[in-house]
Structure formats: structure tokens, C-alpha cells
Symmetry: C3
Subunit: 657 residues, 3 copies
């Protein structure tokens, strides 16, 4: 979304506070340069304490307080956490999952297909939206929050799934064949005998159910969007807080949502990004999450709707890190940075996931550092907002492959998330900017290089597109396990990789787990290059020395590289450092912990962020004559720009558009 | 309980034996100097093989056999393990827990609120007590055994909990506010919508349920006490076998019972203490368990109703350790040491938890060492019994804090048990004697020093009491996490620690998990001392060097120290060794593995136990002219008392009262 | 089974293939020297897609194809994986287990006592057998596959168990006594109160239920055998695919089947053996599995019905290993080696458990190595088939002990499988050949040595047999924990070991887990030798130095050794290397990784396999004048036979019978 300023703020919950202090908080925010809050998405039971009985006292307190201090508001629909009375009204409203029926208590465990849930959702959304309509300072809406399917597996969901299968396959015989159900006597003779999906050992069947479940999420968000559209002004946006694979922090691509699909429901992409801090702050999660969010609406700027202030215990930022993080989000194309959350909470499961203020509700170290960011955002907003990023690399993500690899029955090798981050992080360390694209992409011609990290499941359309792309001059870099199976997780009978042996100029049919193979861990494929194919790396082991670990093959006007083994990071970096320039991609001289992100601002100037992910001082050469915006210092091309530990520099090229 | 002798013996189960051999066993016990057995608490199905059909053959065999050999008997009520017929009669008699309904088989998994259980309990207790009334050698009764609430969560328990909440809060609004239920839409609009407690993510609600469950234990034991009182002679005591947090051995304070509360049900406190042995025998568990038991009836002497003989596999005592352990119990104030158990059992889940005799029922190494103890207990009983201990330290334990910390949602830092033992063990190593006190204590004036280990939940009453205490001259030593939340696990909005910043002379609002911070593990708070407050320790890390790790602040007539980080044991010992004398506490010259325990005997003589928790020989200086009672050797003040590996010396001061 | 040739082949599933290619596959098999396939056991839903509707198209395609290429066929009854319609017809057909009711999906989770299951089983078996009757190339049948009891615990099974108990004990009092049910109030007053076995903490009761469950397996297989017998020709064999304790590979003796008992149902024993490969290929699993299979029909030759080709990910054989493995099976007495399986599968949970062909269905490295084996099997079949093995050692296995040890409540020490492999592997490394015998054996006189690895449960019959055996000149080698309990898992009251202190010339009553005891791990018993008993090893620890770790005692005409501690492998090897010759057992000069297996072939010649389980070249002296059959080279006695890395030599003595 194109804005005239940067947004900076925090999620705000008057409802959670032991004592209401909206006035004091808005004043403190204002003083810290904050200009936006997100409210209302978590507390349905506050807005509707009893069935049909509404109380928006706290809502108005927040809206009024924000208005008074000139603070914009994003209003969230409060559907992701249901009130006790609703759970009591419909005992089956809670999802029945692979682990059995859920109990009331936590959020995000209801059955989003439940008609009673939908009916009550609609009513509270309509009432809430009507309530906020008078407020000019409401700039947009957030649909639900971090929506998933919550593994709903009850009779209603499975009946819908049966229809889904019937629509897709028509006959049981077609499904038997596509999924290989003859195995272990699982062939269906009739749709009536469809067993509970939760017992299956057929990965295709299991993966199909997960695809169906992801579809439920898109369906649910589109349904909410239609309701919201009835109430919103043209200037108000609709967003959603997309999140990522969770490993205690935002690690990789979200397994439970087809985000490219679900993003149809919003006018601007939003996301939350949580990451390690302290000595473990590398910037990779910030970069990956931002790249995904930027991709969801075709490269448009996005919102970071949630990121950590003090974060959970053990993630307290060290001095300077809060600033570095905030500018890193901008460098990825964010137009908004919102902390989760303003206050620390005094009760509940996130009481130690701390906000901008600690529990004593007094400005502390985090608030003071945030205030410097707020001042810089306000001062430099017109130059920093709406950064246009350009990337030479299309980095393909694939829910199908994520699920397929999970159900591949390999019981070895890295999972999808690790395989993706293995390649992504190497590109990040080498300062190669990426655009994330979906595996539904069929035209890659805008990119000199396509990267396929463990794209395990690929339909014929993708395989054909890749061949055409390489024939036409494109360069492909595929990681191990790519293209192994079709879209139904059926392993291809064609020679690997994926029947594209002509493109890759090699094949393999054997793979194993490396034991005592230097520089390789978890997975290795025994590649057999054709004549004319370059072996980039061999295995250093007597039983495997006749096989290649990585190859490159010029194909028609383009070429294709393949890395068949999970190389240790240092070995992977070295390989890519040599390979990428040969594939036509010039590398920046900087390497992580110095991270470079570049784009163009509204004035048409090149804007280069230099981020120092290290406690040690560093320096980077200015690539052009420029002004460092934070300090105001001018630099000639080639001049060294100094960076403090965890420091950031923003270089604006002197000459613009 | 004041006695005229020491009690020494074992739990005895004629019912378990493949062949009855009461006569032989009583003879062997007598020869080993044993004078007490505990019987009957485990085998309801033996006493009542069918509903309403009683068989006390085995009971009389034991009572008669004991009487013949002059052995006293403690009779346990057999309610902690129900017979198969009772489980078959009431299928819902087994507790429905967080993990679902229990199955019949193991002990201690029934619903102690079940009316059918209570009715049958009462009948068997009355029948058993009537049966034993004629026996003069029955010296007392044990109520049930290691009673807990067994996590009963079924409809009956939850209905009682609803009443409990209504009594406490009156309105749902009051509870919503106290527990912060607005979070994630958990606010209640009506008592009718109270959800199953098992799903909650609200730590206050969860902690309240556990408080309710602990109350059920007290209620149950008081109910049994009233029945027993109808049958017992004035000279017969009532005890209970209180046990401790279980980590494969007795580790820390019991989570599932309010022992100070439940101890109302007994006339003399009893406990079981199991601990590591062999190279891992440190004495800390024996000391902690004994200190708790001594506290339960206001410092009175107590019974060790169970402790290990050969113990489970891997805990076989090394030569000398059985003696050391027995005298260590006396040193804590025990008047009874009873092994669990006499025979090793030939069937069932404790068949490898071995007794005084092995499965071959023949005197072996353990029996022979026990016999030396028995002789010494008999010979020295009048001098060793009824030891009066005095401690300068009130060491505060808190079920509320234990539960609160568990539900604090910190997901980091040590749990309560570890935090307690972290401080307790340091005092133990420095030979600082402690009295354990409950967090309900409001008058600490009898003690020069109050120690607060992770007293996470403190109500205003405790906070006020601490301020008064320090003002009046008391010294406070608080560990990290203390006073953070109120009694409802709501984190305080007042500045930490606990609004007592005036007393502690510092505050903090940030904390994290230490990474590469020397001498600190798991938890660190970033303390900001006021002017006039002494910084005892700083963090040795560039990002945290401006903060204190430990402080001391003189406050009015007293003072308050605070340790904000979990220091490694050696660093903690060094800190306390310097700090405690400055707080007015003189230290003994001995350090662990030499352990000193001191008190006064019936004759008014000082009695000093010197315990050598090491396989190496050692020596300690006699602090006064004395006789070493075990060997009869006389020592002048200052003379070296030699100790064998795992040895013990008992020094009786020459001059008495 | 005596054959005129060796069988070599693979399991074959036309049903699983995306495209049928029987003709091509049979041709490739033929070219690789393969002459047998196993079909049909996995795909009931293919043969009977709807209740009562049969389709044998694929079956005939396979049988016809095989016939055309002269390939023999084993037909499996398809009962181990039920079709979806059968699961839908009888929801309770799936086993209700300790973990709750099973869900449909995977194989081998039905209730084998279910009458509906039995009825439908019988119908499909009869239809299938009738269908294959015309085919001359069907050489035999496999009953079901890897049959177990699948932990069936539902009401039907528990009712049968009640009858089983009533038959065994008559009265509850007898059972109470045998099982020690008085413990924790578990005594039964009436059969009507028998609780669900799943809650029990009584190991005897739990072990009895497992014995009952194992009996169900035998009962089921015998029932199938009777059906098959109605259809088979006299020349057709009946076999079963017995498998072993599974730890990701075939580790030890099968817990869930009494294989010696169940083998009544077959005319020839079959088994599957899966094992580590690559650097982890030791040969021990192949040897152990083969020894068990050879034992099941009294030393007759057996079939390896399944073993790995490429195996699961991480078990890819290195060059030469496939050959080594195949000949190792022959060396154990196998007459058949069948891979699981021919094709790799393109769907389902075993899609990465790869066959002879990879997913590209093209001959690769594994196929090419297999073809060399096929040629050698065909060429040398008449010399290699029907190997007669002789072993001086009876190695006792015991389901009762396996279960008993599991339920012994020791919570320490190795489990049965580890204790068995601990001793077996040492004998394997020393090239001591073993015959596996059941603990029902009462006459050991054919063997100079009986080895008892953790035979924890032994009834009086076994104890008496051992005393007689030693008295008559036999040598006993018992491992720790042997003879501790009776057949009901009741620990003996007689002095250990097992009341045979006269035979072993020592006793012990204490045991513990070694801490800082050199060369000992997990378990140690403190042995007290009698005068006249030799101490083979003492504990090197101050607290235990007065005890023996291993003893030998001459007893009448024989003798008995006892190893009371789990020695580290090197220490165990050294002990046995010294001990076994003194017990009359001459050792081969070769040690692992050179493995020697010897027997006599049909021509009456000694046949010696020399297997090199190492990547390094090696050599072994020819023990007699011979021809190395694989290469045709002649050797004089004492001449060095060279072996490649992972190489094998087969030495046929020049002079025969």
C-alpha cells in the first residue's frame, strides 16, 4: 500500500489492563513518535459479554483517546478467540483434531466451518464495524488474526472433504490410482467407505486433506472480507496478519495457509515476524518474513502488524537492536512497524511476552529506544516510505511441497522448512535479494534466476514451465529433493529430477544419509552427470566418489544447476559464491553480518540500507554519492560508511529520478 | 512428639509375603534393635476381600507377633489403595484428570470427593480401628498415606470448584478482574458458562483450581482424623506420612498439599524422605525434608515414617551410608526412623525397591549395618531423643508461588523447586540452619534473617509484613522472581520487587535468560540500585554491565538483600559467605561435605552432630569440651574429632542445663 | 526345507504400480537370475474391492507372467491389511489397545479374535486359493504376514483372557497368591471384579496377558493353516514370514509371538531380516535372525522371505554389501533370499523403502549387483543349498523372560533384547556358532554348552533341567538377571541365582547400577563366591572390591559360569576368550570383522563361508584343502584366502562324504 508516511505503533488492549489508562498511554505513544494502534481483535468476550449483549465502552475509550492524540487505528475483527458462552452454547464448536477434541480456553481452536460459529462471528463483526464507522482515525481493518484451520477434522469437515474429493476425482477408481491406495489394501470401492482421514498412512490422501484444510482458511477470510466491505470507506484498507512457520519464532513458510491464495481477501498484506534476539539476532527471519509479505500482493509494500518489543523471556533486545530491527523491516518494504504490544500483560499465557512498557507501565529502556525510532520515522518518513524493491531471483515456495515432503515417508533428511531456510539463508548471507513466488507461477521470465528449494511436489505445468524458462535463457538453481513427486505426492516414474534430465544434464536414482561424508549432513543424492555437464562438487568418500554432489548444465539459451546434498553452510556459501556469477548474477562485495538491502524511494532515489548484524563495529563502502539519512553525513562513492555494533546506515543516492 | 526413647523399625507387610513368617521377622527385628513397625495402610483388599466381608487374620498375626517381641505398632488406615470390587462397584470412583479418566490398578488415583469412596473408607477404617483397639502395643495411627488430590477434575470436583469461586468472588466480574480473564476472550458473563478448567490458558484460574485441589486434601485428612479420634486412646498419636516433590526422590516442597494446613489433622508430623545414595549422597534432601517435617507442628520432633533401606536399583547404600543417614535424621529432630520396608517384595511395581532384607529374606549387608544403628539408638536413646533445634533463619516456602511460577507463562528460568533448592542448598553447604515457615507467616520477629526463595506470589499482607520486619531490624534475603505477582498470580503493576523498592533500594523491569554471562544460568534480572544501595555483584557482559546482579540495602533498623540472577553454586556460596556475616549471621567454620547440626537434648546439653558426606576421612574441631557418644571418646574444646568416610560424630557438651 | 536349487527373488506387487509392466519385470528378473516372487499378501482391497465382489485380474497377470519366464511364485494370504469396506462394516474390527482404539489406515491393527474378521478372512483366502490352484509354478503359500496380536485389549479379548485365567488358576485366591495381588490392594475377591488389564501395576498380571496375546497369534495361524491345507498340493509348502524385535531394523527376539509355538503352523520357516548397512553393517542381525529362523523347525533350512535391497533412506548398501548379505543368509542355512521388494513404490508409507529397482524402474547399481548374485546362486545352487549347520551352543531365548524383565519394575539395567544381543554378539564376534533354543527345552544334552542370556523367568522345570545337565557334564554360561523369578514373574525367595547356588557355587542378594566402575555399564550384581569357586573378574571400585563380577564353578561332571555385570563388549570378549576354552569349547582363530560360518552340503563336503564385514581387505587361512567356489581358486590347508572389502569366500573341502 502506498502511504504518505510511515506507520509506527503497537497493538493496544485497554481490556487487558488492571486499571484503564488510555489517556496516559496515548500521550506516551505520541511522545515516542507513534502514530498507529491496532485494537479489538482478541476480546470478543469483552465486546459481547453475554449472548447478544454488547458493551463497547472500552472500544470507544481507545478510539476517543487515539483520536485526541492524532493516532490512527486499525480495528481487528474479534473472531479468533470465542467467548465462554459461545463454547457453552455449541459444545461441538471446538475443533475435533488429529489429537482429539479441543477444550475451551485457548484461542484458535474452533471449527471454522461450524454454522453457529459463523453466525455469531457475523453478528459481532457487524456490530463492531457499525460502532467504529463514525471514527475518521480508523484507517483500516484486520480480518481475524493469524487464521489457520486449527486442524479441524470433525464429521462436518470430513463430509466437506468427501465432496472436495468427489469434485476432484469423480470416481473412487481415479482417486485410488492417483493416490496409490492399493498399497496396504486401502483402495476404496465406494465413496461411502471413505475412512476417517486421521488414520491414513497414505501421504497423498493426508496431503490432500491438508490442502483442503488450507482452502478452508481462504474461504473463511474471503467470507469475512465480504462482510467488512459492506462497512468500510474507500480510504480504509483491509489487511490480515499473516504469520509464518512457528518454531518459537517465525522460521519459514506457513504450513497451514495458502498465503498467496488467501491474500485475495486483503487490500494490503500484513504479517507478524518474531525472531531470536541478543547474540542470536541474524536478521534472516526478518528478511524472509518481509520477502514473503512483500510477495503476497505482487511486490506491494506491506505492514508489519506485529513484531517483538521486549519479547518473551530470553529475547530482550540488546541496546541498538530495536532500532536495527525496525529499519530492517523498512528495508524489506514495510510501511508500518507495530509492536506486539504496548503494555506487558499482567495475566494469562503471554504475561511474560513483554511489550514496549514493562509491567510497571513506566517508560524503560525499550520505550526510550523506541522513541528514537519514532522520531526518525516521522522525520524521514517521506524518504523511506513506499520503498520499491527489485530482485533478480525468484525463490519458489510451495505448500504442496511442504506437505508432500512431510508425508513423503522418507523419515530422513531435512524437513521442508529447513531445506528452504538452508538455501534462503545462504542467499541472505551473500546479499542476493529474492522475490518469493508461489509454485503456481508459470512465467519466470522476469527473473534471471529461479531458485527451487526442495520443491518436492511439482505438477507437469511447473516442470514444463521450468523447461521453457531455461530454454529461453533462464537460469535454474534447484536444491535436493526438488521435483521428485507430482502434485499428488506420487513419486514420478520418469527419471529424476522430475523428468527434466535433459535440462539438468544429469540423473540419479539413489540417495542416502551421509555418514562420515565431509561438508554434507542429513541428505545426499548420488548424481550421475551427463557428458557436457559440469560437476561442481564430488563426495569425498570412497563409496561415493564416483558421484557428483552438485552439477551445472548449460541448456539451450539458459542453464540449470542442481545441488543434491545438504551442504554445510560454509560449503554452500563457497559453492554459490563461485556458481552464481557464472550463472550471470553479480554479487555484492559485502557478506553477512553486513546486510545490504536496496530499492528506490518515492523521489526516485536509490536507497541502500546497510545493516550490521553484529555487536562489533564495521564499515561498508558507499556505492554511490549519497547522504546517510539517519546522521545526515554525506559520502562520495567508495567512501567508507562506519557502522556501530548493531548499527544501521541508510544511504540515499544524491541524484534521483 | 516428646518420647522416652528413639523409635527404629520398618514398614511391615505380612500380606505381601509368599509365605507368612511373622515370628522369624519379629525375632530378626528385635535382634537388630528395632522396636516399631508400621502396618496395614496398603492392603484394603486383604482386610475386606469382598464388599462387607472382612478378614483380619493377617492383621492379628502381625499385632500378636509384634507384641510377643515387644515391638510397637503404628496402624495405618488403608484408604489410599482401593480394592477391585470397589472400583467395579463405582466406575466413576477413579479420578477424571487432566490426562483423562484413570484406570484401576495403581494406588492413589481415586476421586477423594466421591461419596461412595468416603462411605466405604469410613466403614473399613471403623472396622480396622475396632479390631486393633485391644492391643496395648499400638502406639498410634497413620491417616491414609502420602495423600494428594490425584488431580481430580471430574464433574463433581468442578462443581465444588464453582462453589469455591462463587464464595471467593461473589460475581463473575470480580473474578474476571482478579484473573484478567478478558485476555483471549475468556471473560465470563455468567457462572453457568464456567468452562472445564482443563482447557484454560489463564494461569490465575489454573492456580486457583490447584489451590482448591490442595484444600480437598486437608478436608479429607481432617475427616479421617475425626473418625480416628472416636477410637484412639489418649496416649496414641495420630500422624500422617507427608512427602515431598518427587523427582525419583524427595526433591523439594510438595506441590499438591498445603502441608502446614493439612498438619492440623495430626498430633505429630511424619514424613518420608528418599534420596540419592552412593556417590550422589549429599545430605541435602535429608536436611530439607527434615526441616519441613519439623516445621509442620511448630518445631516439634517428628517421625521419619519411611526412608530407604536398599532402595530402588542404583541406590544401594555404600558401607557406612545407612548409619550416616539414620543419624542425619536424628540431627534434624526426628524421633523415629522407619525403613520402607522390611522385606523386599516378590511381585508388583516396587519389587525392585528393596527393603532391609533382600528377596531371599536372609540377613545381608544392609541388615547387619542396620543392627549397629539399632544398638546405638537403644543405647543412646535417652540422650538423642527430643532434640531441640534452634535456627536463626526463617526460610519461606509457598505453595502459591510454586503453582504461580508454574503458571507464570515465563517458559524460562528455573521452576520453583529448583529455585528453592538453589538457595536452600547453599545455606546447607554453609551450615546455616533453617526453620521452614509458610508464606502465611506475618510475624518474622523471632528470626534475625528471613529468606525468600522465588516467593513469586505474595499478597499485600506478606509484603507489608516484610516491610515492617525490616523496619524493625530484620534482615531480608530475597531470591530472583520473588514478590513479582499477587496471590492471584496477577503480576503487580507496582515497581518490582513487589512494590518494596523502598525496602530493597532498587528496582528492575527487565529480565532475560543469560547467554555467555559468566557464573549465571537460566535467569537474570537487570537490577538498578538506588543511590545508597550496595551493588554486591555486577553482570560480566557488555550489554548488561550497567546493571547489578545482587544488591544490599540498609533499611531503617534492618536491611534487605536481593539476588536477581541464578548464580552458579560456587558463586552463590561466595556471595553468601561474604554477605551473611554483614547481615549479622555468624558462620560455622565447617563447609560441606562436613555438615553440622546442633541442638539441645532432654538433659539440657548441647548436642552437635558432625556428618561427613564424603568417602574420604575428615576431621572437625570440637567447639566445646564434650563426649563423642558413639565411640565414647572425650574431646577438649578445639580438639580435632576424626571422621571416617561417610562417618558421623555426636558431640555432647560436658556441661548441661 | 530340502530343495534342489536356491531360490532368489523379490516380493512383487503389480497392484502398486502406476502402470502395469509385469512382462518387462519378469524379463529383468530372469536376466538377473531370479527365480521366485512372493505375491498377493498385502492387497485384499484389490482382490475384493467391494464386499463379496472379487477381481483377480492383477493376480493372473502376475501368475501368467511368472509362468512365462519360469519363475516360481509364493502366494500370501491377504489377511494382514483389511479393506476400507470391512472396517466400515464392523467399526469394532479394529483393535482396542493400551493406547485406545485404532483407526483405519495402517495394516496390522485389527482384532484377530473378531468373528466378522475371521469370516471375511476365510472367504477371501478360499477364493484366492481356488484361483491359484491351476498354476504349477505356485510352489507354496505364506500365511498372513508378520502376524502379531496388535495389542488387542477390547472386551472380547479380555473376556477370553478371563477364561484363560480361570482355566489356569481355578480360583481367584490361587491367582492372588501366584501374582502377589495383595500388593496395593489388588487382590481379587471374585472373577467378576477382574479389572481392565490396561491399568494394572502388577507385572505378573500384565505378563500373563501378554502370554495370552501371544497365544492368540498361534491360534490364528493354525486356523489359517487348516484352511490352506484344504487347497494345497503335497509339493506345495506352507510358510510364514516371522520377524524380530523391531528397532528400526531386526534387533532381537520377537516379543509378541511365541515363534517356536507358532511355527507348528508352517512346513518351512520363513523370516524377514532388516539390518543396518553402510559403515554400520556388522552381520550380527543377519546371523541372529538366521539362527532363530533355522531353529523354528528343528534346524531345518529356512527362507529369508524379506530382506532389504536398497532399503530405507540411509541404508543404501555400499558396493559389495548386497553380495555379502546374500551369501551371509546362505551361510546361516537359508535356501531362499527374497528382497523386499522388486519395485520401489510411488505412494504410501514405504515409498522411500526402496526395492531392487528405484522409482524410475530402470536397472541401476543395486540391480546390477543383484544380477551377479543371481548368476552365482544359479551356478552354485546344488553345492550351496541345504547347508547343514552344527553348533556346540544352545542359546536359550525366552518370551517369558522378555516380558518378565519388562514388567520386573527394576527401572534400571538393560532390557531383555539388549541383554540377549550383548551375549549373542560377543559369541558372534568370537565365531562361536549357536543354536537358538526355547526356554521350554528340558534336555540340553546334545550341546556341550548352554548359554542363558537374562533368562529372568524360569520355572522349576528349567531350573531342574539345568542342574541335571550340569551334573551330567554340561557347561552352563549364565548372564546377569538369569533365573531371578519364576514363570509368573514372582521373584524367588530361594537364594539367587534361582535356587541353583549349589550349581553356580555362589550367591548374591544385592545389585546396583554401576557408577564409576570401569568396564561395567547399566547393571552389576554383587556376587559372593563359595570356597572352591573361581572368581573370573572383580569390580574395580572401593565399595565393591570384595565382590565378584563373574565366577566359574565346576559342578559334578560339568560346570557353571555366571557373569553378574553388563561388561563392556571388549571386556566381555576378553572374558569369554579365556573362559570358553576352559569350558571345553575350542575357538576359531578368526575374530570379527572376519566371520566364519560352516556346515555340510548335500554332497557331504564341508562348506566354510568367510565373510569380511569391513571395507578393508583381509585374509583368512584355509582350514583344509578346498576350492573357493565363487572364484574357482584352489587352496591348500593353511593357505591364505584373500578377501576384498565387504568380500566373501566360500570354501568347499575337497574330500566329501
Amino acid at each position: 500500500m502506498h502511504t504518505t508516511q510511515l506507520y509506527y505503533g503497537a497493538a493496544y488492549y485497554d481490556e487487558y489492563m488492571p486499571v484503564s489508562r488510555v489517556e496516559e498511554d496515548m500521550r506516551l505513544m505520541k511522545e515516542a513518535g507513534m502514530n498507529v494502534i491496532r485494537i479489538a481483535e482478541s476480546t470478543w468476550s469483552t465486546w459481547e459479554p453475554r449472548d447478544g449483549e454488547f458493551d463497547f465502552t472500552s472500544l470507544h475509550r481507545m478510539l476517543d483517546g487515539a483520536r485526541k492524540y492524532g493516532i490512527s487505528v486499525i480495528v481487528g475483527t474479534p473472531s479468533y478467540a470465542i467467548p465462554p458462552w459461545l463454547a457453552a452454547k455449541y459444545p461441538d464448536i471446538l475443533a475435533d483434531t488429529h489429537a482429539g477434541p479441543e477444550r475451551y480456553g485457548r484461542r484458535q481452536n474452533m471449527d471454522i466451518t461450524h454454522p453457529g460459529y459463523r453466525a455469531h462471528c457475523e453478528r459481532i463483526i457487524r456490530r463492531l464495524l457499525a460502532e467504529v464507522q463514525p471514527y475518521e482515525n480508523v484507517i483500516g481493518f484486520q480480518l481475524d488474526n493469524e487464521t489457520k484451520h486449527y486442524d479441524t477434522c470433525g464429521p462436518r469437515a470430513q463430509a466437506l472433504f468427501k465432496q472436495w474429493l468427489q469434485n476432484k476425482f469423480g470416481t473412487v477408481e481415479a482417486m485410488n490410482q492417483a493416490f496409490g491406495l492399493a498399497y496396504w489394501s486401502n483402495s476404496l470401492g465406494s465413496w461411502d467407505d471413505l475412512p476417517d482421514v486421521r488414520g491414513t498412512i497414505n501421504g497423498s490422501f493426508a496431503a490432500e486433506y491438508e490442502a483442503f484444510q488450507r482452502h478452508l482458511v481462504t474461504d473463511f477470510l474471503l467470507w469475512q472480507r465480504r462482510i467488512v466491505d459492506e462497512y468500510r470507506r474507500p480510504d480504509q484498507f483491509v489487511t490480515h496478519n499473516f504469520d509464518y512457520e512457528w518454531r518459537g519464532y517465525s522460521h519459514g513458510y506457513q504450513p497451514d495457509v495458502d498465503q498467496f491464495d488467501a491474500a485475495q481477501a486483503v487490500t494490503v498484506a500484513g504479517c507478524d515476524i518474531y525472531h531470536p534476539t541478543g547474540a542470536a539476532l541474524t536478521g534472516a527471519e526478518i528478511s524472509f518474513g518481509g520477502d514473503v509479505a512483500r510477495a503476497l500482493k505482487g511486490g506491494e509494500n506491506f505492514f508489519v502488524l506485529e513484531t517483538q518489543a521486549q519479547g518473551p523471556v530470553g529475547r530482550l533486545p540488546q541496546p541498538g537492536q530495536l532500532r536495527l530491527q525496525a529499519f530492517a523491516h523498512l528495508a524489506n518494504g514495510a510501511n508500518m512497524v507495530e509492536y506486539w504490544h504496548w503494555h506487558s500483560i499482567h495475566n494469562g499465557i503471554e504475561s511474560h511476552w513483554k511489550g514496549v512498557l514493562s509491567h510497571d507501565l513506566t517508560p524503560g529502556a525499550t520505550y526510550r529506544e523506541a522513541a528514537t525510532i519514532g522520531r526518525d520515522f516521522a522525520r524521514l518518513g517521506s524518504r523511506l516510505a513506499n520503498l520499491r524493491r527489485r530482485s533478480p531471483v525468484a525463490f519458489v515456495v510451495s505448500n504442496r511441497s511442504l506437505t508432500g515432503l512431510k508425508h513423503s515417508a522418507a523419515f530422513a533428511g531435512p524437513n521442508y522448512g529447513d531445506a528452504v531456510r538452508w538455501l534462503y539463508d545462504a542467499l541472505f548471507r551473500l546479499n542476493v535479494p529474492c522475490d518469493i513466488v508461489s509454485d503456481d507461477t508459470r512465467d519466470f521470465s522476469a527473473y534471471p534466476l529461479v531458485v527451487l528449494p526442495a520443491v518436492y511436489c511439482a505438477d507437469d505445468g511447473l516442470a514444463d514451465a521450468l523447461r521453457r524458462y531455461a530454454a529461453g535463457g533462464g537460469q535454474i538453481l534447484a536444491g535436493f529433493r526438488s521435483l521428485f513427486a507430482d502434485e499428488n505426492v506420487k513419486i514420478r516414474t520418469a527419471a529424476q529430477p522430475g523428468g527434466l534430465t535433459d535440462v539438468f544434464g544429469m540423473t540419479y536414482d539413489e540417495f542416502t544419509v551421509p555418514v562420515d561424508v565431509p561438508q554434507v549432513s542429513q541428505w545426499m543424492e548420488l548424481l550421475r552427470p551427463d557428458a557436457g555437464t559440469q560437476t561442481l562438487l564430488r563426495y569425498d568418500h570412497p563409496a561415493y566418489s564416483m558421484y557428483a554432489a552438485a552439477t551445472y548444465h548449460p541448456y539451450q539459451k539458459g542453464g540449470a544447476a542442481y545441488i543434491g546434498a545438504m551442504l554445510e553452510p560454509a560449503a554452500l556459501d563457497a559453492l554459490l559464491e563461485a556458481l552464481l556469477p557464472r550463472m550471470g548474477l553479480a554479487l555484492q562485495p559485502e557478506r553477512w553480518p553486513l546486510v545490504i538491502k536496496e530499492g528506490e524511494n518515492d523521489a526516485g532515489h536509490r536507497l541502500r540500507y546497510v545493516l550490521n548484524y553484529s555487536a562489533k563495529q564495521a564499515a561498508a563502502a558507499a556505492p554511490f554519492a549519497c547522504t546517510e539519512l539517519l546522521g545526515g553525513q554525506r559520502y562520495t562513492a567508495g567512501q567508507a560508511v562506519p557502522l556501530a555494533g548493531w548499527g544501521v546506515a541508510i544511504l540515499e543516492e544524491d541524484a534521483g529520478r
